[in-house]
């Protein structure tokens, strides 16, 4: 059933209808469907804001299906949730719904997949349509001048073959959208057997949205379109065509069932964040499901595993935790292979889910270690508000001749992607070097920039006799550089609220930059970074000068 698209609907308790309230609370108006969303969209407006923890629920892919788009917030508007983006998510934004707000179930927790970013937060449920024709389909906002022929050419030209020219795919679009009661496409089926003849029987209506299905799904409808009925078991007949993708997503969404058995001491840390991780992972898989590297499975499986692991590490703020790689990759490969070959087998999918969780355990352990947080601290991990992704892609290397005259044939080539985060994750100093976004920013013109290159790490006994991991730098200058890096480039960005102590403007982070040390605790000069967990500012990193760890 198509969702309501009327403007001026019951939007967020009338916040948007009261410009004074909006201005007072800094909310964005949602009444902006004339704007260029791609240009206006600015992720990370409230990057440091804390997003309410969701309750697991729904676990379905969906799209923003409302003319006004949808604000994405840290929590429900009526509970003072703040917008996470400068402009609402545009209509037809892909999301994955993996939870709901514990105090307001009509606010759905989603991971929204924008062109190069995954943003997570809450949207009103009625703005999301989860009734997709098939998991890989996407919602398309029809623009003025669009024609069904152009759309079919863009989406399906690689699939055109004898007997099935573009008009077949135009018919698919009509059939699929008629089945879902979409008003954006009208007309009658064209006869794909009469090449080049006849008038255009199918029309689009600008401003509305229609479903675009994947080429694989479209091809699978050959026996049904144009004469068959999708509603009379048509979908069931072709369902398994996309079974790989469905099984992959299912192996992720069913993972909570196995967490207590698999995750051990990391169960709490992972359980707390599972809706977020499920959302991020599923949103990524579905968004990339049509890409070459995934379509090329099973060879693409290893590449996908590597990317998902990087996603998880980035989400937990540990992009450079390479030590997690081997163990996580082993489980990641196993997860994807099991899911990819499950063919709907429940037992194998359960095994795949458990491997997915084991991969998360490896990721969480690496992230926690990197952040200097004990493994069983459930709130030790924070998940990034948004993750910037340049997905890997399969390209084609041109043929070339080497200097020695040897000819090298062209061939497929994996173009590595990149992943960075924004949001409340606190990133280890060395971990974020060179990344330049997320919890720590790259120093701007600091004379001591990059002086932490020689930073090491040592396991020591702290003042309480506990064995802890400490980062070490070589000098006071490097210690200052570490403090400044954690302060986003300069301690001037923070406020010194008492001697040796600085706090961020939102008071989410406090830094102790202490060149004297604590005589009574026998600690030498150090930097301590603390991040607020809702109750306390917990230590996430402590850095000493090598050879001066104790007080002198």
């Amino acid at each position: 059933m198509q969702r309501s698209s009327s403007k001026g609907s019951d939007d967020e308790y009338d916040w948007n209808n009261d410009p004074h309230l909006l201005a007072a609370y800094g909310f964005c108006s949602i009444d902006n469907d004339d704007q260029d969303y791609e240009r206006a969209y600015a992720p990370g407006l409230s990057a440091s804001a804390s997003i309410d923890s969701p309750q697991p629920a729904v676990n379905k892919p969906g799209f923003i299906d409302n003319d006004d788009g949808s604000n994405i917030r840290t929590g429900p508007a009526e509970l003072f949730g703040q917008p996470l983006t400068a402009q609402p998510l545009p209509p037809a934004t892909r999301v994955f719904v993996s939870g709901q707000h514990p105090d307001a179930p009509t606010w759905w927790y989603v991971s929204a997949h924008l062109p190069d970013t995954i943003v997570r937060g809450y949207v009103q449920h009625f703005r999301v349509n989860t009734d997709l024709p098939e998991p890989s389909s996407k919602l398309y906002q029809i623009k003025s001048g669009d024609t069904v022929e152009a759309l079919a050419r863009r989406e399906f030209s690689a699939s055109v073959r004898d007997g099935h020219d573009l008009r077949y795919y135009e018919n698919v679009l009509l059939a699929v959208n008629r089945d879902k009661n979409r008003a954006g496409i009208k007309g009658t089926f064209q006869d794909p057997g009469i090449f080049g003849g006849g008038v255009n029987n199918i029309q689009l209506e600008a401003g509305r949205r229609i479903w675009l299905v994947s080429p694989a799904y479209a091809r699978s409808l050959e026996s049904i379109v144009p004469d068959g009925s999708l509603t009379n078991g048509g979908y069931a007949k072709v369902k398994r065509v996309l079974g790989h993708i469905e099984d992959l997503v299912q192996s992720v969404t069913e993972s909570p069932q196995h967490i207590d058995a698999v995750a051990g001491e990391y169960a709490e840390a992972i359980k707390d964040h599972l809706p977020e991780i499920i959302g991020i992972t599923a949103a990524f898989i579905l968004a990339e499901s049509a890409s070459a590297f995934l379509a090329a499975t099973p060879t693409g499986v290893g590449q996908l595993a590597a990317v998902v692991i990087q996603l998880g590490l980035a989400a937990f703020g540990a992009s450079f935790a390479v030590d997690a790689g081997i163990e996580a990759l082993k489980h990641g490969d196993s997860w994807l292979t099991l899911a990819w070959t499950a063919q709907g087998d429940a037992e194998q999918l359960a095994d795949a889910s458990r491997e997915f969780l084991r991969m998360l355990v490896s990721i969480a352990a690496a992230a926690l270690t990197l952040l200097g947080v004990r493994g069983n601290v459930d709130k030790g991990l924070k998940v990034a508000n948004s993750i910037k992704i340049q997905p890997p892609a399969v390209g084609w290397s041109p043929a070339m001749v080497t200097e020695s005259g040897q000819a090298i044939a062209g061939g497929p080539r994996l173009v590595p992607g990149s992943i960075a985060t924004t949001g409340p994750v606190d990133i280890g100093v060395s971990a974020m070097t060179g990344v330049g976004s997320g919890g720590s920013k790259v120093s701007k013109g600091s004379s001591s920039q990059n002086q932490e290159a020689g930073q090491g790490e040592r396991t020591v006994k702290n003042s309480a006799g506990q064995t802890v991991s400490r980062k070490l730098v070589r000098s006071e200058d490097e210690l200052l550089a570490a403090a400044e890096r954690h302060a986003g480039g300069s301690l001037d960005n923070f406020t010194e609220y008492k001697p040796n102590w600085w706090k961020s403007p939102d008071d989410q982070k406090r830094i102790e930059f202490n060149l004297e040390g604590h005589p009574h605790m026998n600690e030498g000069p150090h930097v301590t970074v603390r991040v607020f967990d809702g109750k306390r500012h917990r230590v996430v990193e402590k850095i000493f000068i090598e050879g001066k760890e104790t007080f002198r």
């Binding site: 601290v377 003042s463 309480a464 506990q466 609220y497 008492k498 001697p499 008071d507 406090r510 102790e512 604590h518 005589p519 009574h520 605790m521 600690e523 603390r530 607020f532 109750k535 306390r536 500012h537 917990r538 230590v539």
Partner: protein, 141 residues
């Protein structure tokens, strides 16, 4: 004014430091456990392991703060004292545990969220909690 109302009285950190310096008879550079310990000749510290895993009342009881016998008006500085519009808190010793219990709800952060300084203005005791998880009671008489 009822004893409960005293929990909301605040004075500036500067005023609190002046009153404490007057009590100690020596200069202070800050109202922190480090600075106070430096100004007081003998301070014996005890350690509270894993204090960040405990709630405020548990920390107070584990460190026997509720049994220290502090009396009269107390001057208290928590990390929240440095927040906008706050300051050093003045309250009667009989309200101390209530204040600790209510601190998170009132100031959106734990009472024990780093350093805590409690100065007994009449009895001349100072109770310190250091952000590294150590606490001490010092006699400044």
């Amino acid at each position: 004014m009822t004893p409960k109302d005293t929990s909301t009285i605040t004075i500036t950190i500067t005023d609190a430091m002046e009153r404490t310096m007057s009590l100690l008879g020596s200069r202070l550079t800050a109202m922190t456990p480090d600075a106070l310990a430096a100004a007081i000749s003998t301070v014996e510290w005890a350690h509270l392991p894993d204090w960040e895993e405990l709630d405020d009342v548990e920390i107070a009881k584990t460190s026997a703060l509720d049994k220290m016998g502090l009396k009269g008006q107390l001057l208290i500085i928590t990390e929240a004292s440095y927040g906008k519009g706050n300051g050093a808190f003045l309250l009667d010793a009989s309200d101390l545990m209530n204040f600790i219990n209510e601190h998170l709800g009132k100031y959106r952060e734990c009472f024990f969220n780093g350093d805590v300084v409690i100065v007994e203005l009449e009895g001349k005791h100072v109770w310190l909690f250091h952000h590294e998880g150590h606490w001490a009671l010092a006699d400044v008489a």
